[in-house]
């Protein structure tokens, strides 16, 4: 065996070891800081869904470093928590995902002794069907779904989902590439529940959407925003928070919640089973429910906060905007998604059928 081969052999061994280290090592950092808290916290949130200043201030106040990670949709987040192998402490699921995660035993019960700021959350947002006693989650943002339209291209009154089926706007309508939302409003248009598990109702919604397809410019979730701002396209199905951002950018745009009713959604904060530091996780959630912190996030993200005390810290015109914060009994106008369990695959099947028609 000559020297060169021995050298190569060494390199090979080192390479194998390096790979093994990368693959099998967890991040073993972290210890308790002088304030008695574990010094890192892993937060997993939607992209662009918090005011970054809030995180810095939390780090300063408690000496806890926040590792902030983002996801693009609930299912991606669910998959990561199901796989384990990470140690997220605080996550921000939507309401129907909370339901799934409770049923799959993926969430830890919250200890309300550590959540004194829960009193700031509006009563109407508490104890909702997806988590009846708020055992596992506290609401963060909420909103509705509606139509954003360009007033230069649409001069009639927009108050019904029917306008999305109007031949006049052929090739100028954006729909969301999101099964539950697009099928959901179609069910509403037909006068059904958007949580239907009746296959006939679902088939009717499918027919309706197939009829609409020639009018649709694209099924999209992101790029339609820049196109609407640029004045391309007449109208789009959209979430209330995005609508407010778009109107900020282009004053010709307007948003409406159709009279047939809409979807009401809630994004929440919860502690997944992957968390080994529940105390710090609850500390963070309680911090996020402080009125001034919630207000900062709402001002930054433009979605409606579930924190009623925070409204005092927000500009008046934002709070009084009925499209962002509908008045009265919001549950009369909107229905909250319920997880469909088995039936999810049926929705997916008709969606594939619509999109590949």
């Amino acid at each position: 065996m000559n020297e060169r081969v021995v050298g190569l052999k060494k390199i090979a061994v080192i390479l194998v070891l390096c790979m093994a280290m990368v693959l099998f090592s967890g991040c073993g950092q972290g210890k308790v800081n002088e304030k008695g808290y574990y010094d890192t916290l892993n937060v997993y949130n939607w992209g662009d869904y918090i005011d970054p200043v809030v995180l810095e201030e939390f780090e300063e106040e408690y000496g806890i470093k926040v590792n902030y990670d983002t996801f693009a949709n609930n299912e991606e987040m669910l998959a990561k928590i199901q796989q384990g192998g990470n140690d997220y402490d605080v996550i921000f699921p939507s309401e129907y995902m909370i339901e799934t995660m409770i049923k799959e035993d993926l969430l830890q019960e919250l200890d309300y002794k550590n959540l004194s700021n829960f009193k700031n959350i509006g009563e109407q947002f508490k104890n909702l069907p997806y988590d009846p006693q708020n055992k596992y989650s506290v609401p963060y943002f909420w909103g509705s779904m509606g139509i954003i339209y360009n007033t230069k291209k649409v001069d009639e009154k927009v108050d019904s989902w029917d306008i999305l089926w109007n031949e006049k706007y052929k090739g100028n309508i954006f729909m969301l590439d999101s099964v539950r939302d697009t099928v959901g409003i179609t069910l509403k248009k037909l006068g059904y529940s958007l949580n239907t598990k009746n296959i006939d109702e679902l088939e009717k919604a499918k027919e309706e959407l197939i009829k609409q397809k020639p009018l649709v410019k694209a099924y999209e979730v992101d790029n339609y925003k820049s196109m609407m701002i640029a004045g391309e396209g007449a109208m789009a199905l959209t979430w209330s928070g995005d609508a407010m951002l778009l109107i900020d950018e282009n004053k010709d745009l307007a948003y409406t919640i159709p009279k047939e009713g809409t979807n009401l959604w809630f994004d929440t904060m919860a502690v997944p089973v992957t968390s080994k530091h529940k105390k710090e996780a609850e500390l963070f959630i309680d911090y996020m429910m402080r009125p001034e912190v919630a207000a900062k996030c709402a001002g930054y993200v433009k979605y409606a906060t579930a924190n009623v005390k925070a409204l005092e810290y927000l500009p008046k015109e934002e709070v009084e905007n009925e499209l962002a914060y509908p008045k009265g009994n919001i549950f009369e106008k909107g229905e909250v998604f319920i997880d469909l369990a088995d039936f999810t695959t049926e929705y997916d099947r008709i969606w594939t059928e619509i999109k590949s028609h």
């Binding site: 065996m1 081969v5 190569l8 052999k9 090979a12 061994v13 390479l15 194998v16 790979m19 693959l23 949709n73 299912e75 991606e76 669910l78 998959a79 199901q82 799934t100 049923k103 799959e104 090739g171 590439d177 999101s178 099964v179 397809k213 649709v216 410019k217 694209a218 099924y219 999209e220 790029n223 196109m227 640029a230 004045g231 391309e232 396209g233 997880d339 369990a341 088995d342 999810t344 695959t345 997916d348 099947r349 594939t352 059928e353 999109k355 590949s356």
Partner: protein, 278 residues
């Protein structure tokens, strides 16, 4: 014997990143699904049966069709280009190849987004045509199957040109000269000598373009506006939206088998020399 050591990292690499994942996908594809999408380790063929429903076969057919159209377009555009490059002087050749490869240095996603900027209603192409007075209203260039094919051809063309070029540039020119001496017309020289000799490159090119084209989901999402569902979209959707990893795995398996068959058929045309893939 000593050389075996050297191969260990690579063996481990392919074990961890190719073989084990394929085994996992195979297992998933035969598993049942819990109401909330969890994988239940009980044997079932339902996932494969589900794929035989007309809507999914329709998606399969359409994916193959679009991929085949793109691959053909790449061949028609790419072959003459490869020939032109292989005929130029060595110095020029390198510059031409460079020019061809440079766009690949930009991220694939960015290149596809760039097409959106060009094709949209207020995009460069429509604005230019309106400025020239050729059209009054913007043309609907984006969000149709044509845009998807365009995106595929643009992104995958180099994979067609490079293998053909490498075969053509290595070709023994005396064979061409011999054919000419024996009185073949230039058409005959091409049909009977050049093209058959370049087959290994052509086949590699076809595979290199067809494989990514049949499995892409980004191009059809961005340029097709979600109205063109391809196999890749279907798989992505099963994993990220429908929470049906079992079905997604079954579709992936079917796709892999299809690609393997395509490679088997094409391997007939490959020889040891030339630009074969394997």
């Amino acid at each position: 014997m000593n050389k075996k050591w050297l191969s260990i990292p690579y063996a481990l690499w392919s074990l961890i990143f190719s073989i084990i994942p394929i085994i996992i996908i195979t297992i998933y594809s035969f598993c049942k699904r819990s109401p909330y999408g969890k994988i239940i380790y009980e044997f079932t063929l339902d996932n494969y049966k589900q794929f035989l429903e007309p809507i999914y076969l329709n998606v399969l057919w359409r994916s193959i069709l679009l991929a085949a159209i793109s691959t053909t377009a790449c061949l028609v555009i790419g072959y003459p280009m490869a020939m032109i490059i292989s005929k130029t002087s060595i110095k020029k050749r390198n510059v031409l190849i460079m020019l061809f490869v440079v766009p690949l240095w930009t991220n694939f996603l960015l290149r596809t987004y760039a097409w959106m900027v060009l094709l949209r209603d207020q995009g460069a192409i429509n604005q230019f045509l309106i400025y020239l007075g050729i059209i009054k209203e913007p043309l609907q260039l984006l969000y149709n199957p044509g845009a998807v094919v365009m995106g595929m051809v643009y992104n995958f063309l180099p994979f067609m040109v490079l293998p053909i070029y490498s075969v053509l540039s290595k070709m023994d020119n005396s064979l061409v000269e011999a054919a000419q001496d024996l009185g073949a017309t230039s058409g005959e020289v091409f049909r009977k000598v050049i093209f058959p000799l370049s087959m290994p490159g052509v086949v590699s090119g076809l595979i290199m373009v067809f494989m990514p084209a049949v499995s892409t989901f980004v191009i059809s999402d961005l340029l097709g506006g979600g109205q063109t569902v391809l196999l890749g979209n279907l798989i992505q959707n099963q994993f990220l939206v429908a929470r049906n990893w079992q079905f997604g795995s079954a579709i992936s398996m079917i796709m892999m088998v299809l690609i393997l068959i395509a490679i088997r058929i094409s391997s007939k045309y490959q020889d040891e020399e030339g630009g074969g893939l394997w």
